[in-house]
């Protein structure tokens, strides 16, 4: 702003906040929006965490632990773990069947396939972040 355009009176008038009779309503609406936003974020994170957890457990179960066959002391313990792993695997498979994802066999995917899927997901997330950032700036 150049010096000749500076007008303290105008500045003073602009600095005064007008009285808003519905200020309380405005704050209440904003509080509602903030709460809704945090609830959506919480749900999204929970969902992502659950999906990630299911996939991780399933992947773990797909690995042949070999505990019961090894030289590990305590064959009973090995058998126990093996049976728990089988039970969990069956439970997860039943869950996936119910969700209509019976054919989801992540374990059968190659390492490279999983790598590219993860890389693709990361690229999408990064692109979304860049777009959001550019909108904010």
């Amino acid at each position: 702003m150049s010096a000749d355009e500076f007008d303290p009176d105008i500045e003073r008038l602009f600095a005064r906040a007008p009285q808003m009779p519905d200020a309380a309503l405005f704050i209440a609406r904003l509080e509602q929006k903030l709460q809704k936003g945090s609830r959506v974020r919480f749900l999204a994170l929970t969902l992502a965490g659950t999906i990630g957890g299911v996939v991780a457990v399933r992947e773990t179960m797909s690995v042949n632990l070999g505990v019961s066959e090894g030289i590990v002391a305590g064959n009973a313990l090995g058998q126990g773990i093996h049976s728990v792993s089988l039970n969990t695997r069956n439970a997860i498979q039943t869950g996936l069947d119910q969700l209509g994802l019976a054919n989801l066999e992540l374990g059968s995917m190659g390492g490279m396939q999983l790598f590219w899927i993860a890389a693709g997901a990361l690229i999408v997330v990064a692109a979304a972040g860049v777009i959001r950032l550019s909108q904010d700036v």
Partner: protein, 186 residues
């Protein structure tokens, strides 16, 4: 003893809000909500649109509270966020083309003869109003406004100058009253 919210400084409240403090942020909204809403209306937004954008601006401010370092005032920071959101909205709708001027408007005083900035702003064209409000209300520099509105710098300067000339003419003090010395009726 815990300090009450009302006694806390904006910077302190913003720091607590950045850590997720909803109550502290609520206090900031209580303090500056009307100023942000008022600025958006002065920029030319209809009341409901102004309130929507003000809400979005405060939500953004809450999410980015950690970025506020207290270099300027909190109100100025949120006003700039709100101003940018409004510009974006207006640009999307390609709205600021109508150069409706109301040269014959009566001087901007209310029935009690008090100076009314909001009334006076109605005499400005849409762009003049926007440029003057961005400059004097949101504290943006001319080059910044030019970039935000995608206008040549000279055009912004002339809009601000013409807008201020009109405002001064409209806000002629009644019977020697200095501007801004009376109670503002918003």
């Amino acid at each position: 003893m815990t300090q009450s919210l009302v006694d806390r400084h904006d910077v302190e409240l913003a720091a607590l809000a950045a850590a997720g403090g909803r109550q502290e942020f609520g206090e900031l909204v209580r303090r500056h909500g009307s100023a942000v809403r008022g600025l958006l209306r002065r920029m030319g937004a209809q009341a409901s649109l102004a309130d929507d954008i003000a809400q979005d601006a405060f939500i953004q401010a809450f999410e980015r509270c950690a970025e506020f370092r207290g270099e300027g005032t909190f109100a100025a920071w949120v006003k700039r966020i709100a101003a940018r959101l409004y510009i974006k909205r207006v640009a999307k709708e390609a709205r600021y083309v109508a150069e409706v001027e109301n040269e014959d408007a009566a001087p901007a005083t209310d029935h009690a003869g008090l100076v009314d900035l909001d009334e006076a702003l109605k005499a400005l064209s849409e762009l003049e109003r926007l440029c003057v409000s961005l400059c004097h209300g949101a504290g943006m520099a001319h080059p910044e406004i030019a970039t935000a509105l995608n206008l040549p710098l000279g055009t912004v300067k002339s809009h601000v100058k013409r807008g201020l000339d009109k405002l001064r003419a409209r806000l002629q003090p009644q019977a020697g009253q200095p501007l801004g010395s009376t109670q503002h009726v918003g």
